[in-house]
Amino acid sequence: MPNMSLKKNEMPVQEPNVRNKNFSEVALGYTEEQAVDEAERCLNCKNKPCTGGCPVSIDIPAFIAKIKERDFEGAYQVISQSSSLPAVCGRVCPQETQCESKCVRGIKGEPVAIGRLERFVADWHNAHSTEAPVAPAKNGHKCAVIGAGPSGLTCAGDLAKMGYDVTVFEALHLAGGVLVYGIPEFRLPKSIVQREVDNLKALGVKVETNVVIGRTIEVDELFEQGFEAIFIGSGAGLPRFMNIPGENLKGVYSANEFLTRVNLMKAYKEGSDTPIKKNTSVAVVGGGNVAMDAARCAKRLGAENVYIVYRRGEEEMPARNEEIEHAKEEGIIFKTLNNPVEILGNEHKFVTGMKCIEMELGEPDASGRRRPVEKPGSEFVLDVDCVVMSIGTSPNPLIRNTTEGLDTNKHGCFIADENGATSREGVFAGGDAVTGAATVILAMGAGKTAAKAMDEYIKNKK
């Protein structure tokens, strides 16, 4: 008899007023009992609507059935057939718009907590399994992957499992991409990312850090070096600014810079070599997950007042509800329907405030969201000493500028078909480099699709 509770098992979390002063993980994870109890809520539908909502098509009812049997390692084996980064996805996937949105239990009550169960299974495996993955027999063909972020790591993992000799090239000194430079420790501990990267290495994947494709090595040289197919998963790393007066004052950061200093360079730790300015009041401009991450980091670094300044309403925010809720619990102040018009500074060019204007919602725009319109004469100054711009990113031009015959669209994104094939033979692309800034799981899905297409391409070429 399934568990007919209308509510999910609550996720144990650190108390808001404790966690907003530390960088340890917010969500603590289910216990075995909670996991089994939650798994009992699954009706094991024959048509598996949840699986259809998963960008990497995990057989969700099958892994949940294993949890019911308390065969947690078995559950892990089911997930790992489809996903190479379950401990990551269980934490950062927007399950509420994917698998969980399709769950039959969600029609009346809350859906099964699929994300929390995925996380439980991955963490259980990591805590209990001692077996390293075994590198499969090599098939004698070489593939290159550019970028060690979610799409690149997934693509590399799948290719390695098929027997390819895979080398991943990463521009930074550490593999992980946005998982290490962008998503903060309290949402995704870096030890988890490292473990996933180590697992890939155990599968035989080579990871070359400190190599900037387009500078250190160009795409054409990779072909000359004998790589038969290349996957570009270089992400969307170029920060956008608003182009308002005062944006180059000291204390204005792109979210990328702010988060990279805090996460990748560990500026949150006492004694870190990388500095970050200690601030009293911080305004984060934007309403996405990255803005929430930046705001919550700023709070943890000791800022008294942290504001989210967003030109539309809370309903229109692209951030996940869970992130918005967590941010509010931690004391982040939401200033929605406000838009910055100027950043103010003192004689030493440090930020002293941000002039904003109130907005109201008008007719829906091209995105389907109601267009924000300025309220004349409603300007006011928000008293802040730091501003973080989190209004989106675009793809890096280094590869497109140094590779002939690789078509991009007007946003600078690579043009790829549904299998990830680009206009250049043997070159595939996926993730944010193709779609523009999106989610970890969509990038992983693209990496997975491209791996399959690369395999077919190489086989047909023989």
Partner: protein
């Protein structure tokens, strides 16, 4: 890990290191830079490529000991390793088609100016070098500049070597003497570049400067290195580091460069104290 093949103390505060980095050496051009981390958990700092040897597979860097990271770097010796070393980053300096150029270097900026002078010289361009230092003890790369220049002027602030005066004084007298330069390339402290640009603007001579702002990744990702050029925001790491000096907002760049000054000073003292402990 990147091995230090050669270390040479150029003066009490400036050190040269030749580093084994074959992939970078294959591609590097004058004007480009590398980013390095001395150790695990170290910060990422940009340093301009001072020279490269494609056959040996080495990159030469010349750095001034100003902060914690350069202090730590300076404590590494030949045979030891730099944790991370990535590049070549940035756009190479434009040297094609130039027939007569004044290369102005100030202090450790001479390390960046030198490879450009050398390339111009090798291309058959007439190179007039003006190099300036605070005093005789700080002079670097004198012989190298001599070899790469048709005319060389050595300037010191206190007159302890060469002529007493600023690089702008020497540049002005060369221009007034009738030298017509296609371009002036000025690399050194921001204040020096600012005043070189002020002078050349009066004469209407195109001037290129090399900017070295605070940056993290060096690939366009953080935007920390942004500066205003001709009223537009540019990223030094991908749009530069070379820019039209007459368009650069030097005052803003000076302010931005000083953002972490207190932190850097405190951090360097901390590192110095640590090394005192082990000596």
């Amino acid at each position: 890990m990147y091995k230090i093949i050669r270390k040479q103390v150029l003066n009490p505060t400036v050190t040269l290191m030749e580093v084994d980095a074959p992939l970078i050496a294959k591609k590097a051009e004058p004007g480009q830079f590398v980013i390095l981390r001395v150790d695990e958990d170290g910060e990422r700092i940009p340093l301009t490529v001072a020279d490269f040897d494609r056959e040996k597979g080495t990159i030469t860097i010349i750095f001034q000991i100003v902060g914690a990271t350069t202090e730590k770097l300076n404590h590494l010796n030949e045979g030891e390793f730099i944790h991370d070393f990535v590049g070549p980053l940035g756009t190479p300096s434009h040297t094609e088609g130039l027939k007569k150029v004044a290369v102005v270097g100030g202090g450790v900026g001479c390390a960046i100016a030198y490879p450009i002078a050398k390339k111009l010289h090798n291309n058959g361009c007439e190179v007039h070098s003006i190099v300036g230092f605070r005093n005789k003890d700080l002079v670097i790369l004198e012989d190298e500049f001599k070899a790469a220049s048709n005319v060389m002027k050595m300037m010191t602030d206190d007159g302890s070597y060469g002529e007493k005066g600023l690089v702008t004084d020497a540049l002005k007298s060369l221009i007034d003497a009738g030298n017509q330069y296609d371009e002036v390339i000025a690399i050194g402290p921001l204040v020096m570049m600012k005043f070189v640009c002020k002078l050349t603007k009066e004469y209407g001579i195109k001037t290129v400067v090399s900017m070295n702002p605070i940056m993290i990744d060096g690939t366009g990702m953080c935007g920390g290195c942004r500066l205003t050029v001709g009223g537009e925001t540019k990223f030094a790491c991908v749009d530069g580091p070379d820019f039209d000096g007459h368009l650069v907002d030097f005052d803003e760049a000076l302010e931005r460069g000083a953002m972490y000054k207190e932190f850097e000073t405190a951090k360097r003292e901390e590192v110095c104290n640590l090394y005192k402990g082990v000596r």
